[in-house]
Amino acid sequence: MTLLRRVPRRIIQLACFIGAIILVWPLLPWSITPRFFQQISPFVALSSSIAKRSIDVGAVLALIVAIVASFKKRWFCLYLCPTGFLLENTSHIGLRKNRWWSKVPPVGRYVAVLTIVGSIAGYPVLMWMDPLCIFSSPFAMNKATNPYSVILVSLGLGTLVGATFLFGMLWCVRICPLSGFQDMLYLSRKVLWTKLTAKSTGNARSQKSGAELVQISGASSATASATRSQSAKQPASGSPRNSARRLFFASAAGAALALVARRVGATRYKKANTLLRPPGAVPEDRFAGLCIRCNNCVHACPSKIIHPDTGREAGLAGFAAPVVKFDRDYHYCLETCNACTQVCPTGALTALDMPAKKKYVLGEAIVDTNICLLALGKKECEACALACPYDAIKIKWDEDQYIAYPGVALNKCTGCGACQVVCPTGEEKAIRVWTLKPSST
C-alpha cells in the first residue's frame, strides 16, 4: 500500500524535475519560459507583486499552486519542487538520516512573513531564498565568463545540496520560505474553514482545530516519509502565543530591514561610478530586494556581459545580483536584443519591448582624453565612433587645443558599451560606460 502510494509520487517528482530543467535550460524555443518557472512559486509571485504594485500574467500559475497547497499540505514540496526532489535524494545518501531538525522552529514561515512585510515597503528582503530561484541559478553557468561567476551562480544550490548531505532535510522542512509559505496557506485556510464551520456546527469543533493549528505551526514535513512519520509526534515549537510573537517580530524585522536596505541602496548608488545594472532595472534602492538571483538574465544574455556581482559593485546587499560589465572584446549590450528584460520573474528588470529597449539608458559613455589615442595623436583611431550603434559618438575637433577626441551625444548614448569594448587602449579604456548620474543627464 505504502509502496503503491510512493511510486507515483516519485514519478511525478521526476517528471517535474525534468520539466523544470526543460523550462530553465531553456530547451523550449520560447525565450520567456524561464520567467514562468520562478513565477510558479506563490511566495515569489506574491512578494514581487506587492513590491512592484503590479501583477504579472505568471501569477495565475502561482495562484493555482497556492490554492492546491492550501488544501493539500506542502503539496508543492511533495510533488513539484525540483529542489525538493534533488535534496530529498541527496538526503537518502547523506550522512544524517535521523530527524534531529524536528526541534528546530519553522524558520521558513518567519522568512516568508518577513519578506512579504518587506515587500509592502517595496523591498522583499529574503525573496532570494525561494527554492526555484536557487534551482535555476546554476543553469546560467554556460554564460559565466570568469571563475567568480561560476562560483556565484552555483553557490545557492551547491550550499543546499552540501548542507543536506551533511545535516539532512533541515532546509526543506524548516528553513525554505516556500514550504513555510505553503504551511501558512494551509493553516489560514484551515482556520478560515474552522470559523466557517464553527458558525454552523457550534464551538465544539473549533477547540479541535485550535489544537491542530498548534500542531501545524510546529511540526512540518517536506517529504511524504517525513510527514507520515512525523504526524504522530509532538510539535517542536511552543504555544500558539509563542508563534504569534515570532510572527510579529518577523514582520517588524521585515519592515525595518526593507527600509534600511532601501536607504543603503540609494546612498550607495549616489556614490557609485562603475555600477551598471541590466536594462530595465528598477531603481537601485529596490533592485537588490526585488532581484531573486535566479540568474535568468545572466543566462539569457547572448553577449555574456551580465555577471552576478561579487559584492564589489553594490556591497553585501547586492551580493550575487546581476551587474553589467563590458570586460570582453566586442561584447556589448546589443541594440537588437532585449532578452534579459523578458526573463525576469520578479520585475526587478522591467520587461521592455524592442522600441523601449532601444531607448533604455543603461549608463553613460565618457571619454578620458588623458588616454585617448586620438586625443594624444598616437593613432588613426575612431573605433568608438565607428562602433556606436546609436550614432552618438562624433569625432570633435578642438580648435583651441588643436586636438580631436570622441564627443558623446548624451541624448543619443544608451550606455550599450560598444565603444568601450572596441577601445584599443588596453586594460584601462579611454572611453567607458559609467553609472548614470541624474545631474549629468
Binding site: 566586442y330 578620458d368 588613426e380 548624451l410 572596441v422 584601462e428
Partner: protein
C-alpha cells in the same frame, strides 16, 4: 616635357620600357609647342579656346595616382606582361603612406590576430624588413607595423625603376578622355610640360579623390571627413621609446610615450583636461615619433578649404610641439617635418556595380567575386571586398581602387586605410591586365581567373 623626356631616358637605361612608349614621348614634344592657346577674357568670362592636346603617351593600362592603391595596381598589372603607365601628382610615390606620413599599417589583422592582408602588402613589408630602420612591430598583432616614410619612398622608387612600369611624376591627372560612347580612353594631365593626354585601353583611378571617374561622368557620392596634417618629431626621450619593442599588448604600446594620467577615476564629460601636447607614437627611426592629427571636418575638393587647413595645421602642430617641449624630459624635442600632403580621409565614393554596406561587413558577408580582404576594425570583423566595388556602374574601361571605391561611408572609413588600399589596388591592377589580355570590359572580367591570379601573387581573399 624636358623632364619626362629625361625620365624616359632613365627607363631606357633599364631597357624595360617599350620602344613605342619612347617614340610617343618624342612626338609629344613637337605637338606641345604647336598646341599653345591661352585662355582668353571674352565678355567678362574667361574662356579656354578649343585646342588639340598633345598625346604624351599611349599605353594599355593607365594608373592615375601613385599612392598605395596606384603602386599596387601598376606593379601587379605589369607582372602579367601588359604595358602599364603610372602617373603621380607629387615627386615621389606612396601617396599618403609617404607624403601623408600615415606610417601605420592598419588594419592588417583579424580579431584572432591573424594577418588577413597579404599579396602586395606583404611584399612591401618584406622589402621594408630588410632595410635598416625600415619597419617595426612586424608580426606582433594586435600591435600593427609602423614603417618609415623615406624608406618606403626608396622601396617604391627602386620598384618603379626595375619593374618596367612607365612612370610620370609631378604630373596631375585633371580630366578623363572619353570616346563617343562614354567609354574612357585615357586621361589628361597637367605638368611642367603643359596639358597633355595619355591614351589607354583601361584606366585605373587611384587618385584617392576619384578625380578621373568624376570627370568621366561616373556616379559618385560626395562626402566629408576630418582633414589633418601628420608630423614627425625628433629627439624624443629614449626612455619613452624603449618599451614598444618586445612589449606585449597595446597597453604597453600606449604607455611608452604617455602624456596624461591613467585611471584617475571618472573623467568629467566633454572636457579636455590639462592637455600637454602630443608625444605621438614610435617610428622605426630612433628618437623619432609620428604625431597623428584628426583635424576638422573639411571639403577635400575645395581648394580654399585645403589652403586654410594647410596653413592652420602648421601653426597648430607648432603649438602642440611647443607644449610638449615644456614638459620635463621633452625639452630637446623638435619638429622634424610636417607631411607634404594633407591627410585627406574621404572625399568621393564611387557608385559602383556593388556598394559595400556596413551591415554586410558587420555580418561577415561572403562574396563570390571577392578580390580583397580587410582587417578587423572596431566592431567589424575582417571582411571581404567584392570586385563590384571597383567597377563604376555606368562608365566603361574604368576601374577604381583605394579610398574612393564604392562603399558606404562607414565601410569606406576602413577601406581607406593603407593596407586595404594595397589590396584593392592589386585587385584593380590585375583586373585591368585581364581586360587587356582577354579583350573585355572591366565588368565582364572573368572573376575566377582574377581570383586565381591574385592568389598566385600571394593575396589572401578571406
Amino acid at each position: 616635357m624636358r623632364r619626362s623626356a629625361a625620365a624616359g631616358g632613365l627607363f631606357a637605361a633599364g631597357s624595360l620600357v617599350p620602344v613605342s612608349a619612347l617614340a610617343n614621348q618624342a612626338s609629344g614634344e613637337e605637338t606641345t609647342q604647336a598646341g599653345r592657346s591661352p585662355a582668353k577674357v571674352a565678355g567678362g568670362k574667361v574662356v579656354q579656346p578649343q585646342r588639340e592636346l598633345p598625346v604624351l603617351h599611349k599605353t594599355s593600362v593607365l594608373v592615375v595616382g601613385g599612392g598605395c592603391a596606384g603602386t599596387a595596381a601598376a606593379f601587379s598589372a605589369k607582372r602579367l606582361g601588359v604595358d602599364v603607365t603610372l602617373v603621380e601628382r607629387y615627386g615621389y610615390l606612396g601617396g599618403l603612406a609617404t607624403g601623408g606620413l600615415v606610417l601605420g599599417i592598419f588594419p592588417l589583422y583579424s580579431r584572432e590576430n591573424k594577418q588577413v592582408i597579404w599579396g602586395f602588402a606583404e611584399e612591401m613589408m618584406k622589402k621594408l624588413d630588410v632595410l635598416k630602420y625600415g619597419i617595426i612591430d612586424r608580426h606582433k598583432a594586435p600591435i600593427y607595423p609602423t614603417f618609415d616614410a623615406e624608406v618606403m619612398k626608396y622601396v617604391l622608387a627602386d620598384m618603379t625603376l626595375s619593374s618596367g612600369v612607365t612612370a610620370f611624376l609631378d604630373c596631375w591627372g585633371v580630366d578623363a578622355i572619353v570616346d563617343g560612347r562614354g567609354g574612357v580612353r585615357g586621361a589628361v594631365f597637367e605638368s611642367k610640360s603643359g596639358r597633355q593626354a595619355i591614351l589607354a585601353d583601361i584606366v585605373v583611378d587611384c587618385s584617392g579623390d576619384g578625380d578621373i571617374y568624376a570627370a568621366a561622368g561616373a556616379a559618385f557620392e560626395k562626402v566629408k571627413h576630418n582633414i589633418g596634417l601628420i608630423s614627425r618629431i625628433g629627439n624624443i626621450n629614449e626612455v619613452d621609446m624603449a618599451p614598444t619593442r618586445g612589449s606585449e599588448g597595446l597597453q604597453r604600446q600606449h604607455e611608452h610615450t604617455f602624456v596624461g594620467k591613467v585611471g584617475t577615476g571618472r573623467p568629467s564629460m566633454g572636457r579636455v583636461s590639462d592637455f600637454n601636447g602630443h608625444a605621438g607614437n614610435a617610428t622605426p627611426a630612433p628618437h623619432v615619433n609620428w604625431l597623428n592629427m584628426a583635424g576638422p571636418v573639411g571639403d577635400a575638393l575645395d581648394v580654399a578649404n585645403l589652403t586654410e587647413l594647410e596653413l592652420k595645421h602648421r601653426l597648430g602642430t607648432w603649438s602642440n610641439v611647443s607644449k610638449l617641449q615644456n614638459k620635463p624630459g621633452n625639452e630637446q624635442v623638435y619638429l622634424t617635418e610636417t607631411a607634404p600632403q594633407l591627410g585627406v580621409r574621404l572625399s568621393r565614393l564611387l557608385d559602383g556595380m556593388k556598394k559595400l554596406t556596413y551591415d554586410e561587413i558587420q555580418n561577415g558577408a561572403k562574396f563570390k567575386d571577392v578580390v580583397a580582404c580587410s582587417g578587423a576594425y572596431a566592431l567589424s570583423p575582417e571582411f571581404q571586398i567584392p570586385y563590384g566595388t571597383l567597377v563604376p556602374s555606368k562608365v566603361e574601361n574604368l576601374l577604381a581602387a583605394g579610398r574612393c571605391i564604392s562603399a558606404e561611408f562607414k565601410v569606406a572609413d576602413i577601406t581607406r586605410l593603407i593596407p586595404v588600399c594595397w589590396a584593392t589596388g592589386q585587385a584593380a591592377g590585375i583586373a585591368a591586365a585581364l581586360c587587356i589580355q582577354d579583350q573585355c570590359k572591366p565588368r565582364n572580367v572573368n572573376v575566377a581567373k582574377l581570383q586565381n591570379l591574385l592568389k598566385q601573387q600571394g593575396a589572401y581573399l578571406g
